[in-house]
Symmetry: C2
Subunit: 246 residues, 2 copies
DNA sequence: GCAAAAGTGTTGTCCTTACACCCATGC
DNA sequence: GCATGGGTGTAAGGACAACACTTTTGC
């Protein structure tokens, strides 16, 4: 990229200037971000979806997205969308992949960058502004608008992979959780069932859970102990985290 | 993304139409691809770089990139760049990440999508068209133009990770290779030294190497056997490949 | 007391690692 | 014959998987 690119840019701008007489399809490339916002509630992994209001996709669900402003960093655009929808700013957010086939958006050439985020459903009430914003069980997500099914699938796979390499899951849980909650989370994300004893052994051996000396309340069975994640210790020992391998 | 997005698009187009009277900085967002092309030669991992010809980065090295055409799929743009530079079309190519800070390119707002590719140096002579296109030892890559150092670092880390999860390395080797070649490759990519016996054991136990019953020629020591990778068998057994863990 | 889930240890298997000696070739 | 790297096996230790019974609480 260099003078060649500059030449290209100048040419593109000139031709664009000539053809831009209204809303036309081939005016250039627009850039958007789409946020795949995962949450964990009722012992199930959920994702935030909204109704598409493009006629073409009437009735279908879609991801939360918006165009990137010319004066806005790409990451900032993703944080903006997340903030607008959930009110959250201090959360896990990670770029996953970029989708750029020519015909992916009916309104014209829009390349979109997918960001994955994990939030704690209980801590944040949604800004339900419009379009039936709702949490959907990830298992029931099918037939999304645009190429959003593909984007979702990619992000979900990425989540499954990352959650085994980093302690991301804790971003989805309340601050205090039982080991059963934690196990349910991993089982939901990975779609597996795990041996309870081995699961406990693995997490205790990491020595990154802090025993809060509190118990679950109002459960119709023997209450479990509550824990929190030792983010501080993890921060220091990051290098020695070798992942979870179920 | 829906009617809101369409409204945004229309607004953006109108304001753009008004301000586009020449080459200005805030005309919108341009999209480019940058290719990080890895090769393996002289027992070392290399990467293709070109001299930047922007004055600002005079003398610095940069990655190979170009703007994406409005009518061109994103992936296609990466294949085009690769083809233009190396003459190759049937190669491994993978999107890595997208870089989109506002000020990353001095000529204006350019968001770039990085693609990583692995090619076999011996099989393809470069189309050395201009700008001192050359292979650089990855260990000597520092201080690239633009944010290309960051892009390179990201891609290199990704390569180190992926090469342990998939048999990508074979894309960097000649069709016939010795086990020493293979081990050098892994040692170069991962920047480690490995035990020769354990390395052999691991690869033989995968049963994905075909013994060609040929030997190295013109080596000043006992010649090693030559092998090729069993891509066909790997294709069938993909699910059972659990990765390489050194 | 019964239903429901919490809590707890041991054993066998497999994988990984560490390690040393002889062999084939070019010079 | 000597220098160079090719080729081979074994033993110890650590991680993972499989597995059953007792405990605590709500009802």
């Amino acid at each position: 990229m260099a003078s060649k690119e500059n030449n290209n840019e100048i040419q593109r701008l000139k031709s664009r200037q000539a053809t831009l007489s209204g809303f036309e399809k081939n005016y250039g490339i627009e850039l958007s971000v789409d946020c795949i916002i995962f949450g964990f509630d009722e012992q199930k992994l959920k994702v935030l979806l909204i109704r598409s209001d493009l006629k073409k996709y009437s009735g279908k669900w879609s991801l939360l997205g918006d165009l990137v402003f010319p004066s806005e960093d790409l990451d900032a655009a993703a944080y903006r969308v997340l903030k607008q929808r959930t009110g959250l700013s201090d959360v896990y957010l990670e770029q996953v992949s970029t989708f750029g086939t020519v015909s992916r958006h009916p309104a014209g050439r829009v390349v979109t960058v997918a960001y994955c985020s994990l939030i704690n459903v209980q801590h944040h009430k949604l800004n339900i502004l419009d379009n039936e914003l709702h949490w959907h069980d990830v298992k029931s997500v099918t037939d999304l608008a645009f190429d959003h099914q593909q984007i979702f699938d990619t992000c979900f796979k990425q989540l499954q992979k990352r959650v085994q390499e980093h302690p991301l899951g804790f971003n989805l849980l309340p601050k205090k959780f039982s080991l059963r909650d934690l196990q349910n989370l991993y089982e939901s994300i990975l779609d597996v069932t795990l041996d309870r004893r081995n699961f406990r052994k693995k997490f205790f051996s990491m020595d990154l859970l802090i025993d809060l000396d509190e118990m679950e309340q109002d459960v119709p069975h023997r209450p479990g102990k509550l824990y929190k994640f030792n983010f501080e210790k993890y921060g220091k020992k990051k290098k020695s985290w070798v992942g979870i391998d179920f």
